[in-house]
Structures are given as structure tokens and as C-alpha cells.
Amino acid sequence: MNENPDTQARQIIDNLTLYYGPKKKFIAICAGTGCRASGSLKVKEALEAELKKQNLSEVDVLATGCLGFCEKGPMLVVHPDKYFYQHVRVEDVPEIISKTVAKGEVISRLLYRHPETKKTLFREEDLPFYKKQLRVVFGQNGMIDPSRIEDYFAINGYQALGKVLAEMTPEGVISEVKKAGLRGRGGGGFHAAVKWEGVRKAKGDPKYVIANGDEGDPGAYMDRSLMEGNPHSVIEGMIIGAYAVGSNQGYIYVRNEYPLAVTHLTKAIADAREMGLLGKNILGTDFSFDIQITKGAGAFVCGESSALFASVEGRAGEPRAKYVHAVEKGLYDKPTVLNNVETWANVPLIINKGADWYNSIGTEGSKGTKIFSLVGKINNTGLIEVPMGTTLYEIIYDMGGGIPNGRKFKAVQTGGPSGGCIPESLLDIPVDFDKLYEVGSMMGSGGMIVMDETSCMVDVARYFLEFLKEESCGKCVPCREGVRRMSDILEDICAGKGREGDVEILEAMGKAIADGSLCALGGSAPNPVLSTIRYFREEYDAHIRDHRCPAGVCKALITYSIDAEKCTGCGVCVKVCATQAITGEKKKAHVIDKDKCTRCGACIQSCKFDAIHVK
């Protein structure tokens, strides 16, 4: 027996990996928030009951976190063959067990069908959605039930921690992360190791380590899926970070809207404590560290570092000026490392596989992979993980499967309310921190919202400014008043009250707000406006000069009418119209009273004959 406590730490983890290690026969059913909403928990129960009934209890059922292809939920993967079944219902379960699990036969009606070749595809990795992905971080979700720490051990979980405690000095950890080139996944893209080094060297005690799980960007949910689907990877990353910077106390700040993430993190932290991975003398060494969860309460600005500290301290989340850096004076004015959830989840990977491996993925300035949420007007919605440098075109067309209903692509919005809209002409750019910034957008936390020809870019700008107006904390004038005025101007333009010169005012104000605001919320607030003006100026002009909304979105500028040739007089629209604006005899073409019509869109949604036009 080795008496050295550090070497012993490694041995403990090795034994755990060996003991639990890799599962062979199991069914991974997605139990992320999306698939739960589609009924996956009922399918899971049915699977367990049916396995028992057919005497196959040795086959494990894992209720996993998000598997990414949310569009196809509820979905499951049958291991070891890795057959991928989509839209699974409780009625399908007996057959899945008797055929696929017991005999290895596939059930073709549950397989994914290629939309063009119409061929059925058997395995996850064959699907165009998954084929070009590199799921080194997110892929682990499919192998574990996030509520079971033993599943994480089975996939080499906490091996990185064992290695760090047994073989590496804190400085060694920092230099490895630096060599890997890990940049923050939360938006800024700041080098993680530089922060760590700063905190390690900073004077002040105690030092804090925080995971930012506030994921406030609307349209982004990758951090949610990591906290829900693989909480131990975040925790392990934080413990390693704490060891590197010399911290004994950590916090995970989770958004109020993510109850399942809180449940899974709470369980994971308790389990890790019980196994001696958190708390006093971790794995018998003299290093101690513990983590506490703090729940947000619905404030976008709390994703900003100093606002987040204020919120953890129990105050209103107002940012402060940045001449004092968090690495010196962060939480409670003590040296603090704040990294985003996805950044932390990358750390164990770097330690396990080495900086050289990590460094070989990605572009010159942006290393590793990035998880994106691919949502909006796109065929394959869901979460994808790709090497940095993948082009927008590959993401939207190869993985995303293009735009639904034969419509035309218009723009992709990245970076949340701080980001911008990127037009078709720039789809060939490789996605990394620097390239997105160059074209007037940013990586943000990784939301990609695809828009088609029926999305109005002025309305999108208005939407974001309305959002930011609400979310501005009100502390500094440029953001509080300026964003409000920009929002007013955009409201006017969308309401048909735009004036010549409005665009120029928006541009000038945008520049002033960006320069004068205290924190990044105000500093980047004009981006959605400036980028849409830059690439879609003609839409602004159409609204202002011609009082026309080319995409048919802005209510004040459009009218509804019924195409008499297409209308069959079925009367469905009459029933859904809340203002009784539609009249007509049965089986004869109907008409819309333009004065009564509120352009709510109910009739368009209900019409099966595409007979209602918007102009």
C-alpha cells in the first residue's frame, strides 16, 4: 500500500472507475426538459416495467440529460448497437424490448429517415444532424443518468481530479489549461488560465470559484443541458479550478427558470460530498473545497460578473465599474474566478486528454469545441457541439437540415441580445470568437437563432431592444435612458411612424451607448440594431419610406386578405377569429373585414388551404 495521500487519491478514483466501469447493455432515453415535455418519462417507466416483464432486468435504463436532437423527442438509443429511435411512444415499448433489446433487431418505423434520400438510418452517428459534430463535452450526456454518480465514474469521471491531486501542482494545472488555450464559453471569450493565474497570485483570503449558470441569452440552453445532463462534469471542473487557484469555497449560480438543473446539481453535490470528492480533505489529501448552489431570480443582468456577485451576496444585481477586476476583488471583494458552466465542463477533458489534444481542435485563436443551440426557423432544432471553425453553412444546412417549408434563409442571430444578425452572404465564415466579432456579432454563450424570409429584421431589433430596456438595471444613464429611446424609435418604425433620419439617430445613439455604459449589457445593447442596419438597411427603408413590412410581421403595416380561389369556405377561420372579422357563406369564399381584423394570425394558423395572404 502506498502511504502517500496524493497517490492514494488517484488509486481511489481508479478503483471506482474499474468497479462501475463501462456499461454494455443499456437503453439511454432522453429525459431533458424538452423530451420530458414530449412525454419521455412515461416511456422510461414503460421500458423499466417491460424489461421486468420480459425477464431482462440486467438491462439498465438511463434517464439521460439532453441528447441534443430535441426535434425528435422522445428519443432513445439502444446500446451496445446504438440504434437510434425517435418519437417513441409508450405503445412502442414492448416491441423495442422484445425485438431490439432481446434480439438486436431494428424496428424500422422508429428509425430516422433521411429527408432527401428517404433511407432509414440506424445509428446516431449516421444521422446528418450528428455526423459532423464532435461531441467531446456534450456527448457524455448520452452515457449517464445525471442523478447517479456511479454512471459518471463509469465513463472515467473524476479521473482528471485524481490525476490533478496525485500528479500536478496548482501551477502545473494552470499551465496545462493555458497551453490548451481554453477561452471562456460564456460570451467574452477571455482566456480561462489568465483569470486563474490572476486569482492564484492575488492577495486576499478566502478566494472564490464560481460557475455562471445564469444563461440569460434567450434562445440558448446548452448550459442548462450540461447542468441537467452532466452535473458532475461541471463540479469536477470547479474542484480542479479551485485546487489551481487555492480556493475552498465555490458557488454555482443557476437561473431561476431551470428547476431540473437545480435538482440534479443538488443531488450531484451531495453525492460528491459523500464520496469524499467535496468537503474537507478531498480524497484524503489536505485540499478542501465545497460548493453551494445559488438560485437566480430572473434578471438578465446577473449574467454579468459584478452583478452576479451582488446577487450571490443577496443584493439587487447591479453591476459596478470595471476598473477593479474580479480576480482581485470579486465576490465579497475577494479574489474570484468566474467561469461559465460549459467552460468548467471542458476542464476535466483537458486534464484527461492533455493540452496538445485539446489544442489540435479548433482554429488558431479559438481552441476546442463549442456547443450551440440551433433554433428558430430550422428543420433540425436542437443542441450541437462542433469544433471551433466550423462554418455557419455547415451548421445550418448540413446539421440543421436547412429551412423548413421551402422558405428562404434570411439571417442567423448569434450572441443573444448582445450579438448581431449575420446575413446569407457571410455563411461561409468559420465560427470562432474572433470571426463572429469581426462581422459585428459575437459568440455569446452559443445561441443561434435562424430566421427566414418571414422574419422581419426591424422587428427582431425592436424585440431585442425591448428585452434590454426591461433588463437594464437602471444604474447608469446611457443604458437606462439610451436603450429606452432606441426602443421607442424602433417601436415607432414598426408601427409605421418612422421618420426619415431615424436610422442615423439609431446609429449615433448606438455608438454613444456602447461607449458610455457601465457594463457589457449596455455596451453591447446596440449590437442587434447596428448589425441589422448594416446588413438589412433596405428593410428599415421599406418600413420608414414605404410604410411596408416586407416580411409581413409588423401589424400596423400589413393587411390580411382571403384568396377567393384557394378558399373552400370551410369556416374554420371564422371559428378561431376573436373579433368576428371573417364572414361568408358555407362552401363559398370568405372575406375579412380589414377594420375589425387585429392581424393576430389565428386564421393563418388554422387555414389548411393557405388561402389567407398577408401584404
Binding site: 426538459t33 423527442g73 427558470e257 443551440s373 394558423q605
Partner: protein, 161 residues
């Protein structure tokens, strides 16, 4: 039967559970809201006293965060997701429908106390957009006719019980 407990006493229990420190302010308010469905004035006063902070400090936090409500909320809370993905897929249309059908705006509660309407910036179920969360249930790919059905269903359930 457990004995009914006063708002102030319940609040003191909550503060105690969180250790009494003022850094637990938000967690305390969250628990108060969970217990009473909103933040009653009495509870805020009791919390200030128990945590030994001025009332202004409690009020600051209670009004800064959108998750907190100073008004009683309805039995069923309808949250319309207004995230970008839901927005481009027509969340505004759904909001209109809820507003006209229930006769209330976001932040308001119907007179019978049955429904409260709220909007939320993103619930992180973007693939299912547009999403409406009612109490704890997620409804995905919601259409106008689905809105009508949801309201009808809740009303019928209410009539039965």
C-alpha cells in the same frame, strides 16, 4: 392536521433555515414566495426584522428581480416564453390570444383568481418553441387553437373540483 401558522412565524422559520445571514436574502424571498405564492407585506417586514436589515434592503431585492410578485397570484400561472426562438416562431400571437381570452395583461390576475399571466425571457426549451409553461407543465409548439384548448381544459377541471 397541522396547526395554522402565521405569515410572520412562517417567515421566521424560513430565515432561520437559511442561517439568518443577509446573503441568503434571495433564497429567503424565493421560499416566502413558494409558501404564499407571492410576497406578502407582512412577510417582508418579518424577514427584515429577522435578518436584521432595513426594510428598504428587502424591498430592493423584492422589486429588482422579475421572479418576485408583491401581488397575490392566481391558482394557475401561465408563463409565455418570449425567448428569441419562441419570438420568431410566433410567441406574440399566443400572448395576444391569452390576453384577449383571459382579459388580462402580463403581470395581472383574473378577477376570479384563477389565472395569472406572465412572460418569461426564455425557459430554455427552444426546440419546442413557441413554449408556454402552465404551473410546472411545459407545452411545446403551441398554436392558437392549443391555447383555447388549454384554457378550456383548466376551466373544466376547475368546474369539476
Amino acid at each position: 392536521m397541522t396547526k395554522p401558522i402565521s405569515v410572520a412565524a412562517k417567515t421566521r422559520q424560513i430565515v432561520k433555515k437559511h442561517g439568518g445571514g443577509k446573503s441568503a436574502m434571495i433564497a429567503v424571498l424565493q421560499d416566502i414566495q413558494e409558501a404564499f405564492n407571492y410576497l406578502p407585506k407582512e412577510a417582508l417586514k418579518a424577514a427584515a426584522k429577522a435578518m436584521n436589515v432595513p426594510m428598504s434592503r428587502v424591498y430592493e431585492a423584492a422589486t429588482f428581480y422579475t421572479a418576485f410578485s408583491l401581488k397575490p397570484r392566481g391558482k394557475h400561472i401561465v408563463k409565455i416564453c418570449k425567448g428569441t426562438a419562441c419570438h420568431v416562431r410566433g410567441a406574440a400571437v399566443l400572448q395576444d390570444r391569452f390576453e384577449t381570452t383571459l382579459g388580462i395583461k402580463p403581470g395581472e390576475t383574473t378577477k376570479d383568481g384563477k389565472f395569472s399571466l406572465e412572460t418569461v425571457n426564455c425557459v430554455g426549451a427552444c426546440a419546442l418553441g413557441p413554449v408556454v409553461v402552465i404551473n410546472a407543465d411545459y407545452h411545446g409548439q403551441v398554436t392558437i387553437s392549443k391555447v383555447d384548448k388549454i384554457i378550456k381544459k383548466i376551466n373544466e377541471e376547475g368546474a369539476k373540483s
